[in-house]
């Protein structure tokens, strides 16, 4: 049995964390825009930045998976 593929698959589970994180961030951003529509551009900037940072964990998982599979 090829356990390497299984390991790579488990590594990609980091995506769960990123998904939850980005979901929470977006929900809060929607909340904030609904409360203060005039601050939309500022909130948008922070949201994009937060999403990019939260996405990083998923990317780490992806890099690890690729490393397990190919390196």
């Amino acid at each position: 049995m090829d356990l390497v593929a299984l390991g790579a698959g488990i590594a990609v589970f980091t995506g769960i964390g990123a998904g939850i994180g980005i979901g929470i961030a977006t929900a809060k951003a929607v909340d904030a825009v609904a409360r203060q529509p005039e601050a939309e551009s500022k909130i948008m900037k922070l949201l994009l930045l937060g999403c990019a940072l939260a996405e990083a964990t998923a990317i780490y998982g992806f890099v690890v998976a690729i490393m397990i599979k190919f390196a």
Binding site: A52, A56, I59, Y60, V63, I66
Partner: protein, 229 residues
């Protein structure tokens, strides 16, 4: 469709562009280095073209555009750096332009140089050296060493670990994002060769590349700001 072959070609291909017959190929020049040279040449020519013939009175359209763009980039970076570290603004802007340009190379069907881990490690190393140098310059060597024991003495090992974790996370984030974007773009190109890649290219090549350049610069500026305080 051979996904496995495509991935192998992307990840495990021979990365050497110029082979030098010294020390068993230790000084071989990688493709990413050559691509970086091309990028630097393009940027240099662009900058020379854009800044030629500047006038104080009656500036031309080109000069107005350059001044606007410079002000805009400096504004972005300066806003994060704050008053105390404003001297590092141009250094950070240079990194932003370099990484942004490197990430955008994927648009032209070239493998971006930032997809090579060596390039991102180099950029992250430059950034972290600059962060620590800024700290030493602002606080003095003694103050810099004392900074490790802040806010509490218990936290010192964490602060020392951060010296290694910060550049590692910086280079891995950039590398992983660009690698992911390139792999996904290649797979999409393989599945549907026309129209569809264009739409996804907007996100993966332009948006993601620029956002990652911004995130890199944002974090570096934040570290510098924290170091000089």
């Amino acid at each position: 469709m051979d996904i496995k072959g495509k991935l192998h070609e992307l990840l495990l291909e021979d990365k050497v562009a110029i082979h030098l017959n010294i020390a068993n190929g230790f000084f071989d020049v990688n493709k990413s280095v050559v691509l970086t040279w091309i990028l630097l040449a393009v940027l240099a020519v662009l900058i020379l073209f854009l800044t030629s013939g500047m006038r104080v009175h009656q500036p031309g359209k080109r000069q107005l555009f350059v001044e606007y763009a410079t002000q805009w980039l400096r504004g972005i970076v300066g806003g994060i750096l704050g008053e105390e570290a404003i001297g590092y603004r141009d250094f950070i802007t240079t990194i932003l332009v370099f990484i942004g340009g490197a990430n955008l190379m994927g648009l032209f069907g070239i493998v971006p140089p930032t997809m090579d881990l060596n390039v991102t490690i180099a950029v992250a190393a430059v950034a972290i050296v600059m962060v620590e140098a800024a700290g030493i310059r602002a606080l003095g060597l003694k103050g810099w060493f004392k900074g490790f024991a802040k806010p509490m003495a218990v936290i010192t090992p964490m602060n020392i670990l951060e010296l290694a974790i910060r550049p590692l996370s910086l280079c891995m984030r950039l590398f992983g994002n660009i690698l992911g974007a390139t792999v996904i773009m290649e797979l999409i190109r393989m599945a549907v060769p026309i129209v569809v890649p264009l739409v996804f290219s907007l996100y993966f090549d332009i948006f993601d590349g620029l956002i990652q350049a911004y995130v890199f610069v944002f974090l570096t500026s934040l570290y510098i700001r924290e170091a000089v305080e």
